[in-house]
Amino acid sequence: MKRLLYVFLMLIGFAVSAYGADEGPKIDTGATAWLLMSTALVMLMTPGLGLFYGGMVRKKNVLATIMHSFIILCIISVVWVLWGYSLSFGSDVGGFIGGLDYVFLSGVGLEPPEGKGYPHLIFMMFQGMFAIITPALITGAFAERMKFSALMIFSVIWVTVIYSPLCHWVWGGGWISTKLGALDFAGGTVVHINSAVAAAAAIIVIGKRRGYGTEPMMPHNLPMTIIGAALLWFGWFGFNAGSALAADGLASLAFVTTNTATGAAALGWLFTEWVHRGKPTALGVVSGAVAGLVAITPAAGFISPMSSIIVGGAAGIICYFAVSIVKPMFRYDDSLDVLGIHGAGGIWGALATGLFASKAWGGTDGLFFGNPKLFLMQALAVCATIVYVFVVSFIILKVLDVVIGLRVSEEDEFTGLDISIHGEHGYELDK
């Protein structure tokens, strides 16, 4: 209580401290308009993800699953303005992490950062939406068995010690961008590989759902999953084209490659499954679309639209095999296929950037344009991410498991998390 009071007082202190808003004339209102909108679009992706995931679980866990995304949206919205932004974008500390200069948003105001055309605050917020969706992506791995309280604590710690440094490495002036020169347009490593590797650690620490492998756990509401996928696709325009941080040709390029790769990836998954299993599934189409969105993310502003067809189409095929062949081979229970889609798709995308990136379209030249070095750097960045994220995620999860427990009781898991954790049920459709 006392500590809470203290925090409140500090907040009031900060709130009251005057802030010299003295907006210069150098705002590019078009860029700002697009950044405002993109930020809103990326925000929508997190509940969209909740629906995408929520439709795939069993009815008894629908609320708990959607809530994973929704509560992360709420909690990281606060964490980001308090310290997350500063750790990511504060003045560089050894190439590894941002300094504390922007803690509590001190110094982040209405005027644009040096040499930019948009207000600092909206850049901060745009970045915040990425910090929100990344831990939300992880939740697909341990859906239907994770404790809500543990999820909340985990997310806060994870964003602090994993997301923020990683984001700093790539976009905040850290070593990956400055030393390595690896490219990541909108978050292939920072968002997708990152979340998938954390998911892998979580799968190991938390273990399988009871009955996994013996009883079918069919999606309870595929239309909901499709709605979610549609919102993800829609929001991803903000994610990728917004990452141009301008309303210009680059944003347009990222928009086009995003849309094209997504269509191609859906087709890639669809046809592969059709050939492999004899039927083209609806879930396959939307899973493929998401795989394409993932894979194009690091490459969106660096490659040509024609290349994006290849990047996307291959993503659909690769992720299909990851999910339908690799997963059963290793028998791990990645409930909603974070590894198969964000892991496989994210790694392919990061490497593909090293293949297809082209100076002519805004990037550095990649392997196919005669520069094998970029490909190497991409691979290095992927490896570094995997090692750091896996080790640290594993430690966090192990410690949390010992201290508070990550998993609900067997009985609660059986009853379903909606009733047992939240005291609610999703639908009352028969009265």
Partner: protein
């Protein structure tokens, strides 16, 4: 009085209901059920994995009738619900010891 329980294919419901109504059955109750039997279930896919679904959607109709029309009712159901393919369903007959119409308190056949 006898109770007829007929498990039929869902798309036959309206036809059966109309036929029973025509021969003088005034009331019946139906419920969606799932059946397991000789009729094979179908295969479903979930992210590249295959599952066999054993239980098949069926409709169960329950009607209590006077003994006098029992045979006619059974025959009517048989004739309208039959497609000739596996899975057409079953008819079961039970004895009913008493019937009450809640609205009036009437008992016996007049309560049907």
């Amino acid at each position: 009085m006898k109770k007829i329980e007929a498990i039929i294919k869902p798309f036959k419901l309206d036809e059966v209901k109309d036929a029973l109504h025509k021969i003088g059955v005034q009331g019946m109750t139906m419920v969606e059920v799932k059946g397991f039997g000789r009729q094979k279930g179908h295969t479903e896919l979930y992210r590249g994995a295959e599952y066999v679904i054993d239980f098949i959607p069926k409709i169960k109709i329950e009607l209590v009738v006077a003994e006098s029309i029992l045979d006619k009712a059974i025959e009517t159901i048989e004739n309208t619900a039959r497609t000739g393919k596996i899975g057409d369903g079953k008819i079961f007959v039970y004895n009913v010891e008493e019937t009450v119409r809640i609205r009036t308190g009437e008992r016996g056949e007049v309560a049907l």
